[in-house]
Amino acid sequence: METQELEQNAVKVEPAKVKKMMLILSKATIDNVYACFILANGARMEGIEAEIFFTFFGLEAVQKKKIDHLHVATVGNPAMHIPTLLGGLPGMESFATNMMKKEMEKLDIPPVGEFIEILEASGAKLWACKLAMDMFHLKREDLVDEIADIITVGDFYEKASGENTHLLFI
């Protein structure tokens, strides 16, 4: 009886919308990098704020020297459907990566460097992890210009404050 009354009196509340996506990219395999970028860009396209924290191997995606040389993993990746020994042969990673890049170009998915430019233009904020920078002996000038700053984990959590923020580790 009481439950029924409560249900009748309940005001319909609109579900809260996602306001901000905080993505953490820790890997440099090209499929992970694209997943992260497409999620960030897709958020901006929906009017959702987006920020990316590049840490550990994720930093490869924003290093000037590495940006055009990211690969898909052909070993230890069962989704490739090729025998592990074959995947380890010289040139296999490049071959598989080129195949993937061709398919992506058909879908108008930009190369990594151009994608970073698009993200910055869309208002997404890109941060580099201080600890990982120190660990890999990297300097600011090793990174692309679109990186807004080098920050700590604490700084990143600070930026995540506010209602309806979601954090995602890739």
């Binding site: 497409i38 860009n41 897709g42 901006r44 396209m45 929906e46 009017g47 879908l107 108008d108 998915i109 930009p110 151009e114 698009i118 233009a121 869309s122 208002g123």
Partner: protein, 102 residues
Amino acid sequence: METTIAGKQVKLNEQGYLTDLNEWNRDVAAALAAEEGVELGEEHWPVLEYLQSQHKQEVPLTIRNVGKSGIVDIKGFYALFPGGPLKKASRIAGIPKPASCI
């Protein structure tokens, strides 16, 4: 759903997009823009016309190809249609919502 926008009888789908581009005119665009919180100025029209022409040529719309159009860059596109430029601009242009992730 049939409704009247800016004095014109139009058909909208359930997401509020025009189902027939022939029913579009600049007054309808201005009214749709107001619903999206956008006040149309001189800079908006070339972008809307570009989206319509791409749609007529059946080119799938992406943020990237708008950025390469030579009409507006990506930063400018976000500034003209804040809070979701591709879907808002498409609605104002009277074309279907793009099913694009990029």
